[in-house]
């Protein structure tokens, strides 16, 4: 399993300058001049493509992305009765979990570490039954996960699955639904409406170096492209432009294993920025290296918004303290399928955006182990938390970092450190993604208040309908829609359910009603094809 995970794993590269948003289009146009004429048109005709000499392939539905968002939808569609020949997945990933594994590794999660997701949010099982806790109890031959899921969160912390459990499930389900038969290794460049209804997806095949661009003609298209890149704060970007090649300031989702190695080999000071789950995991790693490998690292933790305690009215009060806002998952559980989901569904525009922002934001889980670590750090003096932002960042002649901090109380101070680790998440501006940027320019799509694509509750992208064809988006690109936790296992599965329902209304597949659902679940249990 480990070897397979290594192959095809996507990895965010080091960022040195803003991504060119039209790279894909420019590449395509330069490679085939006739494409530039096509790319100037918002709606394509079959004859245009014939004239351009592009090979055209047909598929009923195309899912662009090939990560967990595509996997969740394809799983649902297969269970709803679609055959593999009706579905095409366009992806540069060799496995649906490749990006996920990459992100997990970058945020210090090994195969045995636990995610921030609950037992029933199974990405490989549309029913959430049995939950990950049951699978883990069976695989590890211990009742401990069952006890934990039974007593969560009152007598124990929420059960969260191991990375290995999740990957094993995805691998099994991908084989069961015939993922490999539907996957076309290629880079999707643009999606355009077809004059007779439906869509064209222009792609560049990846496995054949000599092959030119080709086009997929489909009735419906689904976009699940994931995060475009880690967020790079302006000060970090300026620092990199000033000191190209300097590795002292890194983003937590970029490869930075060297930072930990150097801190183990010689004592040093690290400044950590961010208060989310990734920052918590970085802290766990740093403390682990102190305890297990003898590192003498001193940690200065910077909070832009320092949370001193629980916030909000009694009926909507989020726990917090020591700088962090705490919640077990990225959103309150009811934002996924309960009363908060119903509220999100009923609201629109600014009110919905405000509710999503109040439920989400930067938070971490309050885990007893992490609390103990930081309590010890504060007591022994090697962990210091400050409410401050970095005003200025540069290198000293000796090669250390010197930064000016602007504290929450208005004062400023200078700090020297060996490393700056920025754990402030991802860049979610759609304009940083070539295909989505093109969609905003030429496809009729627009953005929601929170910056995602403006989507219907069915996850159809507003303004992009093409005859009988519909375009859907799930994952982080649908942020701001009627479902808050879109970037989670639950969110991807929930989006898949809504899309599947909408497609069934178009007569494309069968709604998995009670009897079909039971039959399909039994097939899942026996690991038989849908």
């Amino acid at each position: 399993m480990t070897d397979k995970l290594g192959a095809g794993t996507a990895q965010f590269r080091r960022i040195t300058a803003p991504a060119a948003i039209s790279v894909a289009r420019a590449e395509a146009a330069s490679a085939r001049p006739e494409l530039s004429r096509l790319l100037r048109c918002g709606v394509w005709d079959d004859e245009f493509l014939t004239a351009a000499g592009l090979p055209v392939y047909d598929s009923q539905i195309v899912s662009v992305g090939g990560g967990l968002g595509s996997f969740a939808l394809v799983d649902f569609l297969r269970i709803a009765g679609l055959t593999t020949s009706a579905i095409t997945v366009l992806s540069d990933l060799s496995a649906p979990y490749a990006s996920f594994v990459s992100l997990a590794r970058a945020s210090q999660l090994g195969l045995e570490d636990r995610l921030r997701s609950d037992s029933s949010s199974r990405i490989d099982n549309i029913w959430g039954c049995p939950g990950y806790a049951v699978s883990e109890a069976l695989a590890e031959r211990t009742p401990a996960p069952l006890w934990r899921v039974l007593t969560e969160p009152l007598l124990s912390e929420y059960f969260t699955p191991r990375v290995r459990t999740v990957l094993t499930g995805i691998e099994r389900e991908a084989a069961r639904i015939g993922w490999g038969e539907m996957l076309v290794r290629s880079r999707a460049m643009v999606v355009r409406r077809r004059s007779r209804g439906g869509y064209f997806v222009l792609t560049q095949p990846l496995d054949d170096a000599c092959a030119g661009p080709s086009v997929y003609r489909c009735r419906h298209v689904h976009l699940a492209l994931g995060h475009s890149r880690p967020r790079l704060a302006p000060d970090l970007l300026a620092f990199r432009n000033l000191h190209p090649g300097a590795s002292q300031a890194v983003q937590a989702y970029e490869p930075h294993e060297d930072v930990y190695r150097q801190l183990v080999s010689s004592p040093g000071t690290i400044v950590l920025r961010g208060s989310g789950i990734t920052a918590s995991r970085v802290l766990e790693r740093l403390v682990h290296d102190r305890d297990a490998l003898g590192a003498r690292t001193e940690i200065l933790h910077l909070f832009r918004h320092y949370v001193r305690g629980a916030t909000g009215p009694p009926w909507f009060r989020r726990p917090g303290g020591n700088g962090f806002a705490y919640q077990p998952f990225s959103f309150p559980k009811a934002a996924a399928g309960g009363q908060l989901r119903q509220r999100t569904l009923a609201l629109s525009g600014d009110e919905r955006a405000d509710l999503i922002a109040r439920m989400g934001g930067t938070t971490t889980a309050r885990r007893a182990g992490w609390q103990r670590q930081l309590r010890r750090g504060r007591h022994e003096g090697w962990y210091l938390a400050e409410s401050a932002v970095v005003r200025d960042l540069r290198l000293t002649p000796s090669g250390r970092l010197r930064m000016t901090l602007a504290r929450g109380d208005g004062s400023e101070c200078q700090v020297d450190a060996d490393f700056l680790l920025d754990a402030t998440g991802f860049e979610d501006d759609l304009r940083h993604h070539a295909l989505l940027s093109d969609l905003l320019d030429c496809g009729g799509a627009s953005t929601s208040v929170l910056g995602g694509l403006d989507v219907e509750p069915s996850f159809e992208v507003r303004g992009t309908r093409s005859g009988a064809g519909r375009m859907y988006a799930s994952g982080i690109a649908s942020l701001g829609g009627a479902l808050a936790p879109v970037d989670s296992f639950w969110g991807l599965t929930h989006a898949a359910l809504e899309i599947c329902d909408d497609l069934s209304d178009q007569g494309m597949c069968a709604v998995p009603g009670a009897f079909r659902s039971m039959g399909q679940w039994w097939r899942w249990v026996r690991n038989r094809q849908p």
Binding site: W127, C129, S517
Partner: protein, 179 residues
């Protein structure tokens, strides 16, 4: 579990009129009953208990929904669903005596207590278990829609049949038991 108030009530009605009812009909004869008490009376008591559990349960769900508002996650941990059984049992026991369904004194010394306790606890457990897994398989949308049964027509068939035919069964069984 993340249930809305409507979802809580619908879920209780559907589970009690399906799993709860079938369990009662199938198992009533096996629960320990006092010497000399007829099977007919045992059925009257257990079916009466099941119906009272369902009716009182609607009120309990309103209370639980209120308590749920104090939780940030606005969810209802599974273990609370399990622990609710003993809390709900007392009013049902008192109501069964007040309605004359269980004869005699309502104190702990009454010979019907064991029959009631066995039936109530086992029914609560079976209904709770059904909500933890099987219901998600039969109605995949249930957990995504706050415990309500889907607005989509094809999915309404099963809960409709279960709820209303189940209720007819209850009335029929009660009528037979009372003859």
């Amino acid at each position: 579990m993340t249930l809305t108030l409507g979802g809580r009530i619908q879920t209780r009605l559907v589970l009690m009129s399906s799993v709860g009812l079938l369990w009662t009909l199938a198992m009533a004869r096996f629960f320990p009953r006092p010497a000399g008490v007829s099977l007919r009376l045992a059925y009257q008591i257990t079916l009466g208990t099941a119906i009272t559990m369902t009716v009182f349960g609607i009120a309990w769900e309103v209370v639980y929904h209120g308590l749920q508002q104090l939780r940030w996650d606005k969810d209802w941990p599974s273990v609370l669903g399990l622990l609710a059984g003993p809390v709900e049992a007392v009013p049902v026991w008192l109501a069964l005596h007040a309605l004359g369904i269980v004869p005699g004194d309502w104190g702990l010394s009454t010979p019907f207590l064991m029959l009631f306790a066995m039936h109530f606890s086992s029914t609560s457990m079976v209904v709770w278990l059904a909500g933890q897994g099987p219901l998600r398989v039969i109605q995949p949308r249930w957990r995504f829609e706050g415990g309500t049964f889907s607005r989509r027509p094809p999915s309404l068939t099963v809960p409709f049949l279960v709820t209303y035919i189940g209720m007819l069964f209850v009335l029929g069984a009660l009528w037979l038991a009372g003859r």
